[in-house]
Amino acid sequence: MFAYCADPSTLQGFAWLTCYLTNGKHLIAYTSIGTVLLLLAITAPTALAFGFGGAIAARSRVAPVRWFGQGYTAIVRGVPDIVFFLFFVIALDQALEWLRHKALCPDWDEPIRQGSDFVVCTAAKLPLSASPQWVHEVYGFLLAVLTFAIVFGAFAANVLYGAMRAVPTAQIETAEAYGMTERQSIWRILVPQMWVYALPGLSNLWMILVKATPLLFLLGVEDIVYWARELGGTKGVIFEYPHPDWRLYYFLALLVFYLSLTQFSEVVLRRLSVKLSRGQATFAGERQRKATT
């Protein structure tokens, strides 16, 4: 990175540290912070969409749709989320490969499960074994994102379902009395008003999501936990920057990273809550009104 870093063995103290922290491996590791933020940026809206669909389904008048919605929200109760993470990553992968196998190789006559193996034809492999490395990595990351979205979607569905029930029924009845269709009353009356009720639950969920991101490591993605273990391990003299076992310091840095992330989120969410309460017929909204007049 810097010009004076050409020969690390001659460096001392602070200069050594700056060179060490900006060497090639570390620069790659810093991008993994981007991986975590990217996961959060993709998962949060996706999970919210899944949750919204689940909550709408759970309110449906059609029984099978309602059962599906309620089953989906009930799925995360009582079972540790990590079980779902481990399960969905393999299950989704196998389901996709099986579907492609059915579509691409119809004349394949051997069974798919042979003893301890899951065998599909070469054309159905996902990603194709000839694909470059980055395709495999992106595929793995997308599977992880989808898994997170499914699990957190169920949590979000729970929150949104409660929020929809908190919107006064009289408002919906008034909308229907004015001749709005069910769809119109949902989109014009229910959805705009439910957010203020959903916000406490959703902010809680966001905090949980932030704190669940290290689990990416278990799903085989090269995230910050992976790099902390990798870079912190003992480096012998054959390395450019030899050092003893520094994993403790790397994990301390991760701890500080997560603490600041949760703290920052808390500040933002508090402001959002103030903003959403404006003009609402709730305790917080009423207090705001009194404070201004």
């Binding site: 079972v79 990590i82 079980v83 704190k211 669940a212 994993r247 403790l248 701890l255 997560y258």
Partner: protein, 274 residues
Amino acid sequence: MECFDTIAAYAFRSIGYGERLLPRSDFTLCQQITLIGSGMLWNIYFGALALMAGFFLATALALGKAAKTPLIRKPSEWFIFLFRGSPLFIQFFLAYEAFVLLPKEGIEIFGITADTRWLTKAWAGALVVLFLNTSAYAAEIFYGALRSVPKGDLEAADAYGISGWSRFRRIVWPTMMRLGWPGYTNEAIFLFHATTLVFFSSFPAWQQRGDALYYAKYFADKTFNPFVPYPIVAAYFILLTLIVIWVFGLINRHLNRHLPGRAKPIRYRPQMIR
């Protein structure tokens, strides 16, 4: 009949009794159910002990956070912030690395050598982390409950001349428990769920003695079929959750026994993962 042999061989495999070798091929459903059930012993061990020990620290921390003097309040606030603001997974890694760095021959304190080796083992090291973690979460719940103790109760206590320790033990603490209990029930459930992380963080599963999820992953990796072992873990955990809700419901009824009308059943709201 064959299944009885499997149960005899593997029912206590996770704590080191019975057959040493894990099954390697031709896995039967019986083997999977037995071994995963055997692993549940660890989940129950971690959850129950951390919960029991954490209860006392949580009460102390809640009182500390409500204290007037910043000398007590600030450390309590920081402790709670540290453990609630960071992922449990990172806490496990950090604690393990810290425990490994402790001198192997133990620490000399006033001439007595305190052995530190056991802290790097999961049974003690992970328990310490879970204990501190659940204390922080429960402390926040109890703190919220402490702040909601009705003013009238305290004034009545003052009027009767009850003060100090006896006011806390007879008025404040029972009410705090009563108000915080539903939240504490949820915390207990999440703690049991969090125990599945132990053997996926740095703590090694010595001689393949792991928890339920450890064995489930073993089977899933060997058979490459996630559709059998993970649902088994899920079923065990649903059962465990129901037992926890039942036990805590009994205590809840006991706490609310003096109130007119029966206590409302605790609503389980799964909204917390570390």
